[in-house]
Symmetry: C2
Subunit: 296 residues, 2 copies
């Protein structure tokens, strides 16, 4: 059966993701709050729908890619939302990064209508979306994943589409873990570079030396370079990372887990936002540590 | 000129490092506090010397590889230490991980005797030492490094021998930065795995998914696996990492830098040591976070 794919949310991530699905020959129906992004997609072969409900009525697989938990809730449960148009036997895939708890609740609502919801948040950012190299963390029913795998593999290589768990919300929990791991690495890299700068050792050499050893990481490679060059053009906006760390803190509390390092990283993010940095790339949280050391 | 290489300190790291130098055809003179390790090296072609001074008298390049700052100070400045036997025109290379401030002071003492001291601490651990794939962070005179580079390249590939800076102590500062970056990454990975476990999501899948994305790091790869398997056979002992973080804290204070994430990691290390973990691999600091979440 040829699936017709709905794509709701055509932001920085959603636009290239939807284009990859079109490129592989799937019929795609798009919807976005502002119509300009819709025009960009219809120009390359997508159809536009006037509401999320309309997308659901025309499609067998509906993808949502919006900024935050309340946005996904709205897109699904509003009067003209996905649930209002959803036929039984469909698959809804939320690729946004949202609360695992809410993901589970929304999956139950979709199940009540005889369809399946998968949570499938991504890592890899705008570059990963453009290159079709996103890593995709999928939670929910394995059979539904098998069904939609060819669609997900338009956006990330097969080995990067990981079934994290059958429990709805598992993918979102994994994404939260991803952001936690990145936060710790970023704090470590920032403190290392702050010390190097203040001690008069060339941070370019330090980064190079560390990349050859056990401290090697994507964060050191990419964010280390950003911090050295002072280039904080997003990338991934600090406001969104702040949201992700709020999810981490909430998820930790809900599950009975203490995250002291993440708590510290959250405060650095708050400090960056307080000084007007919400639209900078989130690697700029390292500059808060640079300020503590009076280095630039 | 064929250099004769002295090697003082034949521990877990020093033994394989000295063997690699022998293997490349350099004459090697060894000295170690306990004679058993010396026997292992003389069996494969090294000569043994009765004291560090004796090593210095017989060699043009003298390498020290001992556990901590006071050990290096003793090996150099004791009555029968390196300085007592050092001829002008020699190069002393300290490959231990010690205080950058002390490294600078010792380099000045060596310079007074008409020789050069390089600080060249390593990253890569026992496996890196055995495989000859250490990353080596060199501080000090560039010409001296050029002279001894063929010796250092016995222990790490050419591209991994990095001249961090001409200022003595630069290599040690870089090593401190390395341990800082690793600490942050390890805290992040540990918290991510604690949350996954407690939330009932398979940490094996989470690690796999994260390795495909931006959270990818050597720490996630190696220590993530250790934490999942509960395998804390060193590796690198927690007692030595505790020493390295003490150096980080001291170096930060000496340079006017604040390291809040490293301070947190230090406290986790203290907690691990308090519960009897000093001889475990340092990745076991993640278990302190697991305990906070009541997961194993």
């Amino acid at each position: 059966m040829q699936e017709t794919v709905g794509f709701i949310g055509l932001g920085v991530m959603g636009r290239p993701m939807a284009k990859h699905i079109l490129d592989r020959g799937f019929p795609v129906v798009v919807h976005n709050r502002s119509p300009k992004a819709q025009d960009e997609l219809t120009a390359v072969g997508a159809r536009a729908a006037g509401s999320a409900a309309e997308v659901a009525r025309q499609c067998t697989v509906i993808i949502t890619m919006v900024p935050d938990t309340p946005d996904v809730e709205r897109v699904l449960t509003a009067e003209d939302g996905v649930l209002a148009g959803l036929a039984a036997g469909s698959v809804v895939i939320d690729m946004s990064s949202i609360s695992p708890v809410v993901a589970k609740r929304l999956a139950a609502l979709v199940a009540e209508r005889g369809s399946v919801m998968l949570d499938a948040p991504v890592s890899g950012g705008e570059i990963g979306a453009i290159n079709g190299t996103l890593s995709i963390m999928v939670g929910g029913d394995a059979a539904a994943l098998t069904r939609v795998r060819p669609i997900l593999e338009c956006m990330g290589q097969p080995e990067k589409v990981i079934h994290v768990g059958a429990e709805p919300g598992s993918g979102q929990t994994c994404k939260v873990c991803n952001q936690i791991a990145i936060g710790g690495a970023l704090a470590g890299v920032s403190e290392a570079l702050a010390l190097a700068k203040k001690a008069g050792v060339d941070p370019v050499r330090v980064r190079e030396a560390l990349l050859g050893g056990f401290a090697s990481s994507r964060v050191l490679e990419v964010h280390g370079e950003r911090l050295i060059k002072g280039n904080f053009v997003p990338g991934f906006r600090t406001a969104l990372y702040q949201k992700d760390l709020r999810l981490a803190t909430e998820t930790a509390a809900a599950n009975g887990v203490a995250l002291p390092a993440t708590a510290l990283v959250s405060q650095l993010v708050n400090a960056l936002v307080a000084s007007g940095g919400k639209d900078l790339d989130y690697s700029a949280i390292g500059t808060v540590l640079f300020q503590l050391a009076s280095v630039k």
